[in-house]
């Protein structure tokens, strides 16, 4: 098929990408791995020594790590539930024959294009401010006490903001999957008088199952490293209440200048992400074959 000429040309053409990606990912990753075995503080850069796994045992037994791990899982878990659950509902609604569907679609997808720092600050101030925020006004209008979101419910506040960013993504993917469901199949089902619920569970849900899986895996990878939203709203606080692993590593590296400890944390984050990536890659790879 491919001539020898094209095969050789192909190698040459692919080489720059491979070399660059290798330099960008594998080399720093190995460096991180190496740093993670050192006692290395930027405050005392002349005093570097090999400590083997001490950084890991320190990092893993640090109560802050456990809190950050739990926070990461809470954040990822709830955002997944809200965005995937909500995304299916929104997609089902948008798939109905409604007036102005295309404009509505634009409105629903819009939050996904808003940069993280904007959405975090808009929500923190104009929505959730306990005095002048919209939520406070709505609560007062209903005769309820206003909630001081970021003081009393810091993690919930972050979850709401991040969910708002990812719900559109889930909706869009689900809608795309729904629209590939055969029109005739839908009509046949409605002519047969199939009731809504069985129709949904036996026909629609299996049809979009793969889209759901893909959304869950992709979102998880991004959600494991939520960073900007936390930095500009709570800076991980109050206390450690909203510190996830990504933010903990950032704190250790760029605020505490502990290169060794931060590197160990980084490796832990890589391992977590790889567990999810493993499953995602299998699905994508299967798709590549077909």
């Amino acid at each position: 098929m491919a001539t020898q000429q094209t095969t050789i040309a192909g190698r040459i053409l692919v080489a720059p990408s491979v070399i660059l990606l290798f330099a960008w990912m594998i080399v720093p990753l190995l460096t991180t791995l190496y740093f993670s075995t050192l006692r290395y503080s930027l405050l005392d850069p002349d005093n570097i020594s090999f400590v083997a796994l001490q950084n890991y045992s320190y990092f893993l037994t640090d109560p802050n790590f456990f809190t950050a791990l739990v926070n990461t899982l809470i954040l990822v878990g709830w955002v997944l539930v809200i965005s995937v659950g909500g995304g299916i509902l929104v997609a089902l609604l948008m798939d109905q024959p409604i007036f102005g569907q295309s404009i509505l679609r634009l409105m629903v997808i819009a939050p996904f294009f808003v940069m993280p720092t904007v959405s975090a600050l808009v929500w923190k101030n104009m929505m959730m401010n306990p005095v002048s925020g919209l939520f406070a006004w709505i609560a007062k209008s209903l005769g309820l006490p206003a909630i001081d979101w970021f003081t009393n419910w810091p993690m919930l506040s972050v979850i709401i903001i991040v969910s708002w960013q990812w719900l559109p993504f889930a909706s869009l993917i689900m809608l795309t999957a729904l629209q590939s469901l055969d029109e005739e199949q839908k009509e046949a089902a409605s002519l047969d008088g199939a009731r809504q619920l069985p129709f949904f569970f036996y026909i629609v849900l299996p049809h979009i199952a793969r889209a759901i899986t893909v959304v869950i895996l992709i979102e998880t990878i991004f959600l494991l490293s939520v960073f900007a939203e936390i930095l500009v709203t709570t800076s991980g606080g109050p206390g450690n209440a909203t510190t996830n692993i990504a933010f903990l590593v950032y704190k250790q590296a760029l605020l505490d200048f502990d290169v060794g400890g931060a590197s160990a944390g980084g490796i832990v984050a890589v391992i977590l992400a790889n567990i999810v990536a493993f499953f995602l890659m299998r699905i994508v790879g299967r798709n590549l074959e077909s």
Binding site: A2, P16, L104, T117
Partner: protein, 276 residues
């Protein structure tokens, strides 16, 4: 009778869908409205929805106070420039994988994709230290390189799926006619690939524009794009909501327009072709 019933259902569904849609869109609409208020109106309880004194002073103040244009310039230069360079590297790679595949092509593609799964914090420390030593912190070249590398796997992957859709027969016909490899690429392949390349670029620009891990960690002022500029509003002084809204509106408007044009590519690019 039946028709009436369906119309009634359609109207009800439309109302419900629009209510949900407006709810999701509301924070963006609210930011837009607030950007035209005075700071006092922006802060007022009960909130003023449409009946306030409309003013554009916030937009001017954002510029005069903090040189907004520099950040906007950085955002544009970085997201367009980094991806143009990435494109130059990605097109040949995607081309060779799509049209001259070897046994290892699939593994290579998967490996490239897997680099995208690596969390930034995993390589933050070495990258930060290397950049510090090379004086690349807060440097357009430095952050541009990072943004380029962030998108390279997605670019290659998307281009690969687009190139795959180009029928091989046409290429073979060109080869039979004695077209050389270069003329095959320039005259046959490129014209057919332009739409795919354009939509790939669109998605890549959106992703770079909104990237907020590396831009926040590796830039401070000179090379900082809009993500970092908006982040400076997290330590506010006095009343600032109207100004925050004006800055935010300017920061998201261009990308919102691009994004709306590229919804389909978004699905394809972000699911790595797993959902089309």
């Amino acid at each position: 009778m039946a028709l009436k019933q369906t119309t009634g259902k359609r109207v009800a569904m439309t109302a419900l869908a629009w209510a949900v849609g407006l709810l999701i869109f509301f924070p963006i609409l609210w930011t837009f409205l607030t950007s035209f208020k005075s700071e006092l109106d922006a802060f007022s309880v009960p909130p003023k929805f449409l009946f306030f004194h409309w003013t554009t002073e916030n937009y001017f103040e954002v510029q005069s106070r903090s040189n907004y244009l520099l950040f906007a310039y950085n955002s544009i230069v970085l997201s367009v420039g980094a991806n143009l360079v990435a494109l130059l590297i990605a097109v040949p790679a995607a081309w060779s994988m799509a049209f001259a595949p070897t046994k290892r092509t699939k593994d290579l593609l998967m490996w490239m994709l897997s680099t995208k799964m690596m969390p930034g914090v995993g390589v933050l420390v070495p990258i930060y230290l290397i950049f510090r030593n090379l004086h690349l912190l807060d440097n357009r070249l430095g952050i541009g390189f990072v943004l380029m590398m962030m998108n390279l796997p997605i670019l290659i992957w998307m281009l690969y799926t687009y190139f795959k859709e180009i029928p091989v027969d046409i290429l073979e016909a060109a080869r039979m006619d004695g077209a050389s490899l270069m003329s095959e690429i320039i005259y046959v392949l490129t014209p057919m690939a332009i739409p795919g390349i354009a939509s790939t670029m669109l998605l890549a620009i959106i992703l770079s524009w909104n990237e907020a891990f590396w831009t926040l960690n590796l830039t401070t002022s000179n090379a900082a794009p809009l993500t970092a500029f908006i982040a400076s509003y997290s330590a506010p002084e006095g009343l600032f909501w109207a100004k925050l809204s004006a800055a935010s509106t300017l920061a998201i408007a261009p990308i919102l327009v691009l994004g709306w044009f590229s919804q389909k590519q978004l699905v394809r690019g972000l699911t790595f072709g797993a959902v089309k």
